[in-house]
Each structure stands twice: as C-alpha cells, then as structure tokens.
C-alpha cells in the first residue's frame, strides 16, 4: 500500500505487543452487521495512472492559455509570480498544522503577522485576522459581527443590490428568512442606489453592507456615507472587491468603514476553479474582541526575544464553545501566505503598477466598445477594471460566438438583474494584452453584424 511503511514482521510484532491476534480484532466495538463493508470503488491506481487520468480530465476543460479571458465577477485572472508557488509550496509551510505550539511554528506565525500587517495597510483598517474562507463567508460573518456589536438589539442587515449576487445568497444561508437572529433587506429592488439604502437606515439597522468597487466595477460615492450610517448607530461594512483596486484607490478605512472584508484571490491564489480562495477580514481596534477568526500577536519569550503567538483566543470556539464569536477553526492560512508573498513581491510600487495596468486597459477596452454600433457602455460612474456593456444580442448567444473565436466573454448580468437586459459585465486585467483586447473588439463587431 502506498505510504504505509509496515512490513509483515512489523505488524506481527505490534499485534503481539498489543495482545491481539489480527488487524480485524481491533474493531470489535463496531457493530458486526456494519463491520467491513465492501466499498464499490475503482481499484488502486499507480501514480502514473492517476496522473494520466487527471490529464485526460484536463483535456475536457478549456483553461487559461486556451482563450483570452474577459470574465471576472468575483474571480480574477492575474499573474502569479514564480516566487509565490516556490515559497508557499515549501513543505515547512504546507505540511504544518495551525500554530498551536508557537516555539515550533514561528515561521507560520511571523508570516501571518506580516500578512495581517500588510492587509491592515492595504485596507486602511486597524486589525486584520489571519484569514477567513472566502469573500462571501467573510461578508456573512461581518454581518454576524455587526449584530453582535449591536448586542442583538438591532436585527436589520441592510445590503446593497450591487454586492456580488453569490455573496448575498451566502448571507441569506447564514441568516435565513425565518431566522430569529436577524433579517436581510435592501436589495429587493435590484436597481436600488446608495441614497435609496441610506434612506432605509433606522434604529433597527445593525449594519449597511456595500461593495466598492461594486459588482459592476463602479466606484461608489462614499463621501459622508459613514457619517450617515453612524448617525443611526449602525456599522458600515465594505466588501472591497476586487482587492487589487486598493493598489490605486482610497482604502475603506479612509472613508470610515467599521468592517472591511474582501476576496483575496487576486493576491497570488490563481483561478483554481473557485477555490481555495482567501477571505480577508479587517476591523477597527475597538471591535477586535468581537472579531471572528485567528489573530497572531507579538510578544516576547523568557529571554525577552521577540516572538509571535495566536492571541485573543477567548473569542474562539475551542475556548468559548457556543459563546464564541464564530465557529471557524481551520482557515485559509496557506492562501494568506501566498497573499503575503505576493504583496511583498509587488511591494509599494508594484501593486500600484498592476492596479494601473488593469485600470488603463479596462478603460481602453470600454472606450473601444463604446464606439461599436449596437453596443453601449452603461457604466455611468467612474470604474476600476470591470464595466457594463449593453449588447445588441442576448449575452449567452454573444458569449457562444466569442468562445468559438477563442474568447471567454463577460458575465451575463440579466440572470441576477432582470432590468439589465442584454447587459454583460466585462473584466480586463494586466493579463489582457492590447492584441487580445483588439481581438475582442473585432469579434464583437463581427458577431453583432
């Protein structure tokens, strides 16, 4: 058997020490009628065979490199520098556990402290946890945290319809319509704007959640927003997607956000068919004891040397059980490490540079598309690297034609926003060359003819 080192002699000697006659006799506590089921699974494969099998499955996909990608909508095609795979792939990081024993886990702990430090600076917030599952679950738990901060006195969670549809669906799984804990509202009108939401703030509201840039890529008008929210005693939660935009744009900490969450996938995780991704979770220092997830803190050892530990653990499930701030245990540590390596590699200048590439290329594409007969760029506000396009034909039909031309087209918005007829959401990143963009323009022109 692969990976099991025992020889026949080992097994015999070990059973003798235990005082049992056979491996089977170890399982006498298991009810006989259920013991040793025959599993109907394919027989064992060798390493060669399984890799062949998986390569066969890969051939049934169309993956990056096989088309030009203009699809974003929560998962983004960005370059992953070689150092990320190399360093995060090291067995010392990948095959260690949660750093419960700090003396033998300083590598993971210091890297997480550095991750927290860089995320705090990127978002303009005061505290970041050591990661959450993904952007959607981070947002759901941000709502739970806001409910906890307002001590269960407030039950209204106000959400903007311009938050990623899957994030709002996830929130409603955590807080179902028949929940006693809270209710989610604000997005019943898919066209509701930020002023519409502000008008719904009241003494019942625990938090207002917005996404900025919003799901359509637009930069929301956030001046004065936090003041309105705070005037009603509520919290402002911002979903900061795509996170790369913070290389260029004002961070939510600067405009008064109380909790900022994001999908960290653009920071070196790759597309990975949707996961593992990275939930970024940050808040202000005053709320740290209500925050879910692990936190790494700095301290000293017995000789006064600097070191790092998991801290403020009385928030967590293994200490506080049903009174914990969250049930989260295993998080996305290795993906957070990738983000830390990515952010350090890009650095102060590089993250700005990649954000600007995204911005300029997206604006070039939008400008060209706006010239095409039959197409209209319907994004009215300033945008980052995603924008809405109204098309002369239904989006699924358009996308099929693009696919035949080696282009992965945009997200069909009509599915989630019925009033946005024949509109799609296009995304441009640093991975899209001008030649690819020009190919997209030519294809759109051809298809609509």
């Amino acid at each position: 058997m692969p990976y099991i080192p025992h020889t026949d002699a080992d097994r015999r000697a070990m059973l003798e020490t235990i005082g049992l006659p056979s491996l089977e006799s170890l399982f006498e506590d298991v009810p006989t009628q259920c013991r040793f089921p025959r599993l109907n699974l394919p027989p064992a494969a060798s390493e060669m065979e399984i890799l062949d099998e998986l390569n066969g499955l890969a051939r049934k996909n169309r993956a990056v490199g096989q088309f030009a990608i203009f699809l974003g909508a929560g998962a983004y095609h960005h370059f992953v520098p070689s150092v990320v795979d190399h360093l995060a792939g090291r067995g010392e990081f990948a095959t260690s556990y949660t750093p419960y024993q700090p003396e033998v886990s300083q590598g993971t702990l210091q890297a997480m402290f550095e991750y927290q430090s860089m995320i705090v600076r990127l978002t303009g917030m005061e505290v970041a946890n050591a990661s959450h599952y993904d952007g959607a679950t981070a947002m759901a738990e941000a709502a739970l945290m806001a409910l906890s901060i307002t001590r269960g006195q407030r039950k209204k969670v106000l959400v903007s319809p311009t938050i990623h549809p899957q994030y709002r669906q996830t929130l409603r799984t955590y807080l179902p319509p028949d929940s006693d804990l809270a209710y989610v509202t604000g997005d019943e009108d898919p066209g509701a704007t930020l002023p519409d939401l502000v008008a719904q703030l009241d003494q019942e509201t625990a938090c207002l959640i917005i996404q900025n840039p919003n799901f359509f890529g637009e930069l929301e008008e956030v001046d004065g927003l936090a003041e309105h929210v705070h005037a009603h005693g509520a919290l402002l939660v911002v979903v900061s997607n795509p996170i790369i935009s913070l290389g260029l744009l004002k961070p939510p900490g600067d405009y008064g956000a109380d909790i900022v969450v994001a999908e960290g996938q653009p920071l070196g995780a790759g597309l990975n068919c949707g996961g593992p991704y990275l939930g970024i979770f940050t808040t202000r220092a005053e709320y740290v004891r209500r925050m879910p997830g692990r936190l790494v803190g700095e301290t000293t050892d017995r000789q006064g040397r600097r070191g790092y530990v998991l801290t403020l653990t009385p928030r967590e499930q293994h200490i506080r059980r049903e009174k914990a701030t969250s049930n989260i245990c295993t998080n996305q540590s290795l993906v957070a490490l990738r983000a830390a390596i990515y952010l350090a590699y890009m650095g102060k200048q590089g993250l700005r540079a990649v954000a600007e590439l995204c911005y300029h290329k997206a604006h070039y594409a939008a400008h060209q598309i706006a010239q095409l007969p039959g197409f209209a760029v319907t994004t009215a506000r300033p945008f980052f690297n995603e924008f809405r396009v109204r098309c002369p034909v239904p989006v699924p039909q358009l996308n099929r034609s693009l696919l035949e031309r080696g282009i992965l087209g945009g997200y069909d918005l009509e599915k989630d926003y019925p009033h946005l007829k024949q509109e799609m959401l296009l995304c441009v990143t640093e991975m899209n060359t001008r030649a690819q963009i020009d190919r997209l323009i030519a294809a759109l022109q051809e298809v609509s003819r």
Partner: protein
C-alpha cells in the same frame, strides 16, 4: 537568531516585481478616488526568497518531524497530490466559465461526490463547505431546515456530548440553536440514560463524533441513533475522525443522517499551517433536497451544476476548495477500496501499539481498545509537572507535541494520534522519548518547566500578547 520583519528589511525605492509595459493609451485617473500612499514593504526578490525560506525553517512540519497531534490527523501528504493540483488544464479555469468548457473539472467533482457517498454510505454529497466547521454549520442548517419544512418549528435544542470539539456548539449557536450538553459515561460513551432523558419533540438532533475525541468507538452507536430518531431528531456525524472508519464502517449504515468530511485530515490534503481545508457534507435520503448547491449531476455523458429543490442555499461563493478536491480524489484513487481499509487498519494498529508503549509512563484516560488515537493524563504524579511541560519537552526530542488539554473532560489530557504513515521505528522512538521525559520529571523537573531548550524562541508570554495586543507592525 530572530528573522527581521519584511518592514524592517524594506529599503525605499527597492523593487522585486516585473510587469509588461503599458500597451494602451493611459486613461485619466479618477479624480478624488486615488489613494495618497501605499505603505507596503520594498524588498528585492532575493531578500524576499531568503526571508520566507528562513521563516519556513522555523516550523516543524510533517515533512521534517513526527507530528502526533490528536484529532488533527497529521498523516503524510503525498507529493503526487501537489502535482495533480498543479495540472494547469484541470485547475486554472474560471469558476463561472460555461459548463461546456468545464466538463473535466465538473467530472472530477462528480467522481469525488460519488466516492465520498460510497465511502461513508450516504445518498448525496455537496462539496461546498470550506472546512470542517463550515461543514458543521452547513449540516445543522440543513437539520434546522428539514424540521421547519415539516412544520416542527419548536425543535431548537441540539444535543452535544461533553467530549465534543468546540466547533460543534459554536456551529449550532451560529444556526440559532440551543446547545444542551450530554455527559459521557465511564467507558467514554454518550451516557444513554442522560440521552434518553434529553430526547423530546424539541430536539433538532445529536452531534456525535465517532470515534469520539477519546479515540473510542461509540459502543452503543446503533442505540444512540435509534433513540434520537425515535424522538424525531436527526443524527449529525462530526467526520473529523473518519480516517479510523475507512472500509471499517460507514456512518450512513450506522444511522447518521448528515456528516462532514475533513478532506485535510482523512484524505491527506495538506493543512497549510492552518488551512485551506475542505469540509464536504454527506446526507441520507431525507436530507437530500436540502443540500447546499450547486452540486454536480450527470446527464448522459455530460456534467452540469444543479441546485436541490429545498436547498438551504449556497454556503460560499463558487464550488468549494476545488484544489483540495483534486488532491483528495487523487488520494482515494491511489488507494482503492483495499488501500482505504488498510489506511484505517494501520492507523488503529499504530495507535494501539503506541498506547501500549506509553501506558506504563502516562495513564490512559479510558482503558479500551482505541481507534486511531488515544488520550493519556500528561501530569506526573508526585511532581508539579503538567501536560504542558511534557508537551514542550517533547520538542527538544524533535517531536511535535500531541494535542493537550483536550478533550476537556480529561485531566491534563495529551491526545496522541500517530496516523498510519508512521513506522514502528518512529513510534518506538517517540515512546522512548516519553519514557525518558517521565523519568526527567522526577529527577530534574526544571528541565521540563523550562522546555523547550532547542527552539528559536523559548516559551512565549501569551498573557502579555493578550493584555496589550500588538496585531500588526506599527513602525
């Protein structure tokens, strides 16, 4: 010996990145929206590589050390898994691509769903949850939705044994349920009398870890399931210890209605210093309509995404931690049915063998044939040496400490899980170290109180860290 922080290594103007030059006309930046400063570190590529390489060397890990962390299943993480997960055509796909361009990935997810159903005896599986605790939340939300769909809104109580992982009560509380703790009996089982007393028409169900956190198979598992079902409740299985049951017993056959799998424990995907994990949920027939979607269904030779009709909804964006699916599927295929059974048999063999070697020095909490792990008292009678001292001293011998002070019901618990991938020689060496430490406790207890002595830092001041939290670099 300390490695500086990235911020301390930073030099203004230094860079590592390369990017293509701008090949389109520059657009005007949006006035009033641009940030003034981006205070990230500035280091060269070599500085970066040395920094993270040196940090990595401060960790113990499976690749370098025996890591018998109970309940965490630190088995060998096969390298083929990593190669499989880096097949670009299989993994570097966008989750929102049209289904016809994702057939390979969807087929892999389908095959994994089918394999997990077969291994654990369930009618359906959703791969979505990101980790074990996330799977628990998913499970209790399904149980809640099931009762509500039958108009039984009065069911709000969830029964949880006192030996359970902390995630069980925490997940239940998040779903708005009221936790009722059940005592364990002297043999480490759920106390049947207490269970019977707690069972009524307000019960949502029971969350049971089997084998439990003492490493013991629940001797009355069939009766426990019957009792809970008889009052209309459902059985939740915490699958953290499923590695002991592969090919030995199927939780679905035992009577469980829903269970999460920890792909990062049972199916060898790496723990990554705390994650990512993956926590798919399996369900019996009656919970099938409530599974979170999308799940993958097969129609002819095509695969597509579907949402069950009474689904609780999605529990995260996209499909789940797909990279972990590829690794776990690879592991299952590399073993086949006989290999999976051998995994459980040898995990249990190793645990019982190590228990026999350790028991003379550290008394076992409940003396029974154990499953994949066992719990001993880590304090040394007649001395002031506690479990923590023993755990820290093990580090000096080159071993990662066992889980300590859990389960909560055992005084000075040391929870030891060797896993099937360790050799007899390694177990012998570990047992010898424990014997030596037990002797040191009597002759030189200070050696233990001050341990570890060989690490880059000694015991850290956790009180200071919590009293005056420094959670990011302030320089």
């Amino acid at each position: 010996m300390n490695e500086p922080l990235l911020f301390e290594l930073s030099t203004p103007g230094r860079t590592a990145f390369t990017l293509p030059s701008l090949d389109v006309p520059a657009a005007a930046l949006p006035e009033g929206y641009v940030r003034a400063d981006l205070p990230l570190p500035e280091v060269s590529e070599l500085e970066l590589v040395r920094h993270f390489t040196r940090l990595s060397q401060l960790n113990y890990c499976i690749d370098t050390n025996f890591y018998p962390l109970g309940s965490c299943t630190m088995k060998y993480n096969p390298k083929v898994n990593e190669k499989a997960a880096s097949i670009e055509g299989l993994t570097q796909v966008h989750p929102l691509q049209p289904e016809e361009t994702l057939q390979g990935s969807l087929e892999l997810m389908y095959r994994l769903q089918e394999a997990l159903k077969e291994i654990a005896g369930f009618a359906g599986v959703s791969l979505q949850p990101a980790a074990g605790a996330h799977g628990e939340l998913t499970g209790v939300l399904m149980m809640r939705a099931y009762h509500r769909s039958r108009g039984e809104t009065q069911r709000k109580k969830i029964l949880i044994p006192d030996s359970a992982h902390g995630t069980n009560p925490a997940s239940s509380a998040m779903a708005g349920l009221v936790v009722v703790q059940l005592p364990s009996d002297k043999r480490g089982n759920v106390d049947l009398a207490a269970l019977k007393q707690a069972c009524d028409d307000t019960v949502v169900g029971l969350m049971l870890t089997n084998p439990n956190t003492l490493g013991l198979f629940e001797e009355h598992v069939l009766e426990v399931c019957e009792t809970v079902h008889a009052c209309g409740g459902l059985m939740y299985g915490d699958g953290a210890n499923l590695n002991a049951l592969l090919g030995i017993a199927r939780p679905g056959d035992l009577g469980f209605d829903v269970m999460h799998f920890n792909l990062h424990k049972t199916f060898s995907t790496p723990h990554g210093g705390g994650g990512p994990g993956s926590g798919p949920v399996g369900v019996s027939e009656r919970l099938l309509p409530f599974l979170p979607g999308p799940i993958v269904v097969k129609e002819g030779d095509r695969f597509r995404l579907a949402v069950p009709d009474k689904s609780i909804g999605r529990v995260r964006a996209f499909f789940g931690n797909y990279g972990m699916f590829v690794r776990a599927y690879t592991y299952i295929r590399m073993h086949g049915p006989e290999g999976l059974r051998a995994v459980a048999e040898h995990a249990v063999l190793n645990a019982n063998y190590l228990k026999a070697l350790v028991a003379p020095h550290f008394p076992v909490a409940v003396e029974r044939t154990c499953m994949h792990e066992f719990v001993v008292h880590g304090d040394i009678s007649g001395t002031d040496v506690r479990a923590l001292d023993v755990a820290k001293r093990l580090i000096d011998y080159g071993f990662h400490p066992p889980t300590n002070y859990f389960p909560l019901i055992v005084r000075d618990a040391l929870m030891i899980e060797p896993t099937e991938t360790e050799s007899k020689q390694m177990l012998d060496a570990f047992a010898q170290a424990l014997a030596a430490i037990a002797a040191e406790a009597r002759t030189n207890p200070a050696l233990l109180h001050e341990a570890p002595h060989t690490t880059p830092v000694s015991r850290l001041d956790e009180v200071k860290a919590a009293r005056n939290p420094v959670l990011c670099y302030k320089g």
